[in-house]
């Protein structure tokens, strides 16, 4: 019965080993699907390539359905799965910073490391900026601590907020994802770009 590490079925060292192997697999798939190209990544903002959207959304809904079925079969205890706490103001600010950085730099944090690993100079610069940002955040922490921790809302889940079961929300998310894929493929036809 999962989560394996919380229920002490595996040790946290074994957990790190699994994370390491999954991480290598994740990085390999990212690179081989072309996610180390910042033009491909930026395509999602211009509409000429929405692979990023499709891949990550597919991963999310697959994992979501998998977890719900595992819970249904009694293989994982969802009440022990960590849910991030919600701080709305800092989440919005963080989302804006992340989005602007994504468009400007052409990478998101994971893909930048992936592209740096195959030696892309722009990705190396991006990772440098990433580290600089981390240092500024950490060193200036007292300045933004009050904003960072403002508006704590506990650990709410969307299905609790709108009062439906997890399964119904999952169905809605799958429908939303599939319609986004349809919009994405429409956009790819509408804003084609020959070479990128």
């Amino acid at each position: 019965m999962g989560p394996l590490v919380v229920n002490e079925i595996i040790s946290s060292s074994t957990n790190f080993l699994f994370a390491f192997l999954i991480g290598i697999g994740f990085g390999f798939v990212l690179e081989s699907s072309g996610f180390s190209s910042s033009r491909k990544l930026a395509g999602v903002f211009y509409g000429y390539d929405t692979v990023v959207l499709k891949v990550f959304f597919t991963a999310a809904i697959t994992a979501m359905l998998g977890l719900l079925f595992f819970s249904l079969f009694g293989w994982v205890d969802l009440s022990l799965v960590y849910v991030n706490p919600t701080f709305l103001p800092s989440a919005i600010a963080g989302g804006v910073i992340m989005g602007v950085g994504f468009i400007l730099g052409g990478f998101c944090p994971g893909t930048s490391v992936c592209a740096a690993a195959i030696g892309k100079i722009d990705a190396l610069v991006f990772v440098g900026g990433l580290i600089l940002g981390i240092v500024i955040f950490a060193e200036g922490y007292p300045l933004w601590e009050s904003f960072y921790k403002a508006g704590f809302q506990g650990f709410p889940r969307i299905n609790e907020l709108i009062g439906v079961s997890q399964g119904v929300l999952a169905l809605l998310m799958v429908l939303v994802a599939l319609s986004m894929f349809w919009v994405g493929e429409w956009a790819e036809k509408k804003f084609p770009r020959e070479e990128y």
Partner: protein, 213 residues
Amino acid sequence: MKKIQDLKPRILLAMALIPLALVIAAVPENTTKPFKLTIEELLNEVTEGAQYFTTDQIADFIVQKDPSIQLIDVRSTDEYETYHLPGAINIPLADIGSEEWLGYLDQDLRTNVFYSNGTVSANQAWIICTQRGFKNNYVLQGGLNYWAETILNPQKPAETAPSDEFAKYDFRKAMNAALGGGTLEAKTAPVESAPALPPIQKKPLKKRAAGGC
């Protein structure tokens, strides 16, 4: 009729995921928790007596006002009101399944020590809590009977007894004095109980936060 290979990946994905999502939307959520201990594990704990605290240990905790120890009296409310250990709360064995006490029983902050007159009721409370997967639950060895025998009325060992028997006797006398002295008869006046603490909310077990993309 198109062949399945000719369908767009988006349509294939929809064909796979929508039925699954419909199933998951239709079934109720699974909120059951599994039993935490197998028979072997439970037997092991019981035969080793790992669930016991001795009366000497508990007396020491009470005198030192150790905040990590929560004594729980599983006898009836009447018996509790007649006499109970300092700082103990009363959860009668019949009420052990009540939601009201869940915050005390299912928590990972404090060490709960059940006691009754003997050890039968306390052990029953312990086994119920252990099988429900609650941690940090223990039993006072020998119960209040042994408490009265060892802490409230310590017997002076014979002259020829080994020196650690005398050390134990001195310790118990000191504990008795620190707890207000006297025998059980003198202690039957209601002991002021500690103010009721708010139920401890169980913290969700933290896993490492997952990264983004």
